[in-house]
């Protein structure tokens, strides 16, 4: 006899319901199969366990008797069906699945029919309206605008030709002015005979200034934005989303102190973004002098809103397009910074004391004690501030060919942001640049040894650093110890 575990015969055998022969056959089958043996044993245990569990007295309930007798008091025994209860006598709300499906289907069909009818009606209505409009326009109405097509096509073609020509012009300028760009770690500097780029880079790194190199994409600018907190990042990302500058990469540094966003865009677009930063955010002001002449023009056209920047940008506007000897640049820059921090600092505007004055003022204002000095060292304009828009600018000792050498941000509207932007541009070698004395930097260092950088802004402030490398010009030849980009 073959038995399967799910055969009820096993239970019948356990309950003693099988006749002698049947019982013997099942017993033999169970004994011969270990699985069935285990099953039978356990089912027997189940049976015994249930019996034991049910073997407890249930006390009679007097209350039940009285409750029943009270309920039937005054009634006579009837012939009502005792198997009907409240549930079974209720209206059949529990319809069968088929009935429910049919109802849903009917309802859907009805709704679909209504929708189709409505759509048809609307379509015919539109068609009538179109016919009516055409009738009112008359037979020549459609052909009156045919002349637009060729005119627009010609205009488009002309625009393309102009754009291509302009681009070629830019490229040729770039090619003639391509200086070597050298990358040292994360720092890219413009290589000049008078400056030890590696040493300068080391100093910049030591002081917490990071510059990021861009190496490709002729005619583009790579910009790295260092953001001190989420609010700054949010603001910048909003602007970025509206601009044509694209997000290139994102980095979050351990500890969450600084987040860096790499951006890439054409120079004009980057300038436009900087201009937007300057004007629209209300919490970051970009020094007008750091912008291109075109950007400055645009700012000027904006009127009063740009006045604070333009007012402080006289030095930069003047020097931005012309390479400046380092001494003049630093002196003017520190004077500019000093004007922002008060008469005490202004008194210290001579070049030798400018850094110290700047340090004192900026440190007090922004908690970035060495910002101006660092900027000056690195060929960076620096600015920091809070309260009203602040455009203290340290002008680079490096010549900045297109006026977009450096940009700085400052706080505004309650000091929501302290910013520092820097831009290192590839520069066209010039006599002034090559022979520019480096003494002011050295003097500044001697007069006021830079304290350790404090890059963590005070609580409640947003810090923004933007480092820009101008890739408008491709590197002429990489140094021997560096791989070709």
């Amino acid at each position: 006899m073959t038995l399967e575990p799910d055969s009820p015969t096993i239970s019948e055998w356990l309950d003693g319901r099988l006749s002698g022969d049947e019982a013997d056959a099942v017993a033999a089958a169970v004994r011969s199969n270990p699985e069935l043996t285990a099953l039978a044993t356990e089912l027997r245990r189940v049976k015994e366990t249930l019996l034991e569990a049910g073997d407890h007295p249930v006390e009679a309930s007097r209350s039940l008797v009285s409750a029943v007798m009270t309920a039937i008091a005054g009634e006579a025994p009837g012939d009502a069906d005792p198997f009907l209860d409240a549930v079974s006598t209720q209206p059949p709300h529990d319809e069968t699945d088929a009935e429910v499906d049919q109802k849903v289907d009917d309802e859907w069909q009805q709704l679909e029919q209504q929708r189709l009818t409505q759509e048809r009606a609307e379509a015919f209505e539109d068609e009538d309206a179109i016919r009516e409009a055409r009738r009112l326009e008359g037979p020549s109405a459609g052909s009156d605008r045919h002349w637009l097509k060729p005119v627009l096509s010609v205009a488009l073609a002309a625009g393309l030709v102009v754009a291509v020509l302009l681009n070629i012009g830019d490229q040729s300028d770039s090619d003639t002015a391509a200086p070597p760009v050298r990358q040292v770690g994360e720092v890219a500097v413009v290589e000049r005979p008078q400056v030890d780029a590696a040493a300068l880079a080391e100093r910049m790194i030591a002081r917490g200034i990071e510059l990021t190199a861009g190496k490709q994409s002729m005619g583009t600018l790579h910009m790295t934005v260092h953001l001190g907190d989420r609010e700054g990042r949010r603001q910048f990302e909003e602007l970025l989303a509206r601009s044509r500058v694209t997000l290139d990469r994102e980095e979050t540094m351990t500890g969450g102190q600084v987040e860096r966003i790499g951006c890439l865009g054409r120079a004009a677009e980057v300038d436009r973004l900087l201009e937007t930063l300057a004007v629209s955010t209300g919490s970051l002001v970009v020094q007008a002098g750091s912008l291109s002449p075109e950007a400055i023009e645009r700012l000027e056209r904006r009127g009063p809103v740009a006045e604070p920047m333009l007012a402080a940008a006289d030095v930069e506007v003047k020097t931005a397009t012309e390479p400046q000897p380092a001494a003049t640049a630093i002196a003017s820059a520190q004077a500019g910074a000093a004007r922002q921090v008060g008469p005490t600092a202004e008194e210290a505007s001579p070049a030798a004391d400018a850094v110290a004055a700047s340090d004192a003022g900026l440190a007090a204002a922004a908690g970035l004690p060495a910002a101006a000095e660092l900027a000056a060292d690195a060929g960076i304009a620096a600015d920091a501030g809070k309260g009203a828009p602040l455009e203290a600018v340290a002008q680079s000792d490096a010549p900045q060919p297109r006026g977009r050498s450096l940009a700085m941000g400052g706080g505004a509207g309650g000091g929501a942001m302290i910013g520092a932007m820097s831009r290192v541009a590839t520069v066209e070698p010039s006599a002034e640049a090559i022979t520019a004395p480096q003494a002011p930097v050295a003097d500044a260092d001697a007069a006021s040894p830079p304290p350790p950088p404090q890059l963590i802004p005070p609580e409640g402030f947003v810090r923004l650093w933007i480092d820009i490398v101008d890739d408008t010009k491709a590197p002429a030849a990489p140094p021997a110890d560096q791989p070709a980009p």
């Binding site: 366990t49 049910g54 309930s61 029943v68 309920a71 025994p77 009837g78 012939d79 069906d81 005792p82």
Partner: protein
């Protein structure tokens, strides 16, 4: 006095005699309902409903079966209807008279086992539960079960076996341990 005699008296107008029937059958009905619905209070309510329904339909009782079987059937019907209205609530463990014996550990073990059985029964499909309760706890015969539940004997066989196999899985800790120790 036999059930049939009391029924005749009730039908004759001695309504108070029905109290004797209620008192006589209520322990079994309460116990059955308790096992079927898993809740003592619900079992009380359903037992009350069952006795009232039996009184109101007493004229239709043709005494082809015993009154107890008929009453069981009414009770099972009430339990099934109640189970459709709501999910069974497992019985809370209560003080067990066995646990008050000198052998405390044995008492606790039995209480645990009873609670486990109640839980396992509560999780069982109501159709299987009725059959296995009647068969293994009330020790009703297959024929009685078929009569009470109004189902064929073959269905009783299959449901009972299926119920036991499921309970075997749910009570594995008890049945396998016992099996191994035996």
């Amino acid at each position: 006095m036999q059930d049939s005699e009391i029924i005749e008296r009730v039908l004759a107008g001695d309504h108070a005699a029905y109290a004797t029937l209620v008192e006589r059958h209520q322990p079994q009905i309460l116990r059955l309902l308790e096992r079927l619905v898993g809740c003592r209070e619900t079992a009380q309510d359903l037992a009350q409903e069952a006795f009232i329904a039996a009184f109101r339909g007493l004229k239709s009782f043709q005494q082809k079966s015993s009154f107890s079987t008929w009453l069981y059937r009414i009770a099972c019907n009430k339990a099934t209807s109640a189970a459709r209205r709501r999910r069974p609530v497992p019985l809370a463990p209560t003080a067990d008279p066995v646990a008050e014996t000198s052998d405390v550990s044995t008492g606790l073990e039995q209480a645990d086992r009873r609670h486990a059985v109640e839980q396992a029964l509560a999780q069982l499909d109501e159709r299987y539960r009725a059959v296995v309760v009647l068969a293994d706890m009330e020790e009703a015969s297959y024929e009685s079960i078929a009569g009470i539940l109004d189902i064929p004997i073959g269905t009783v066989r299959s449901r009972l076996h299926r119920a036991r196999v499921e309970l075997r899985e749910r009570l594995k800790a008890f049945v396998t341990a016992e099996a191994s120790s035996s």
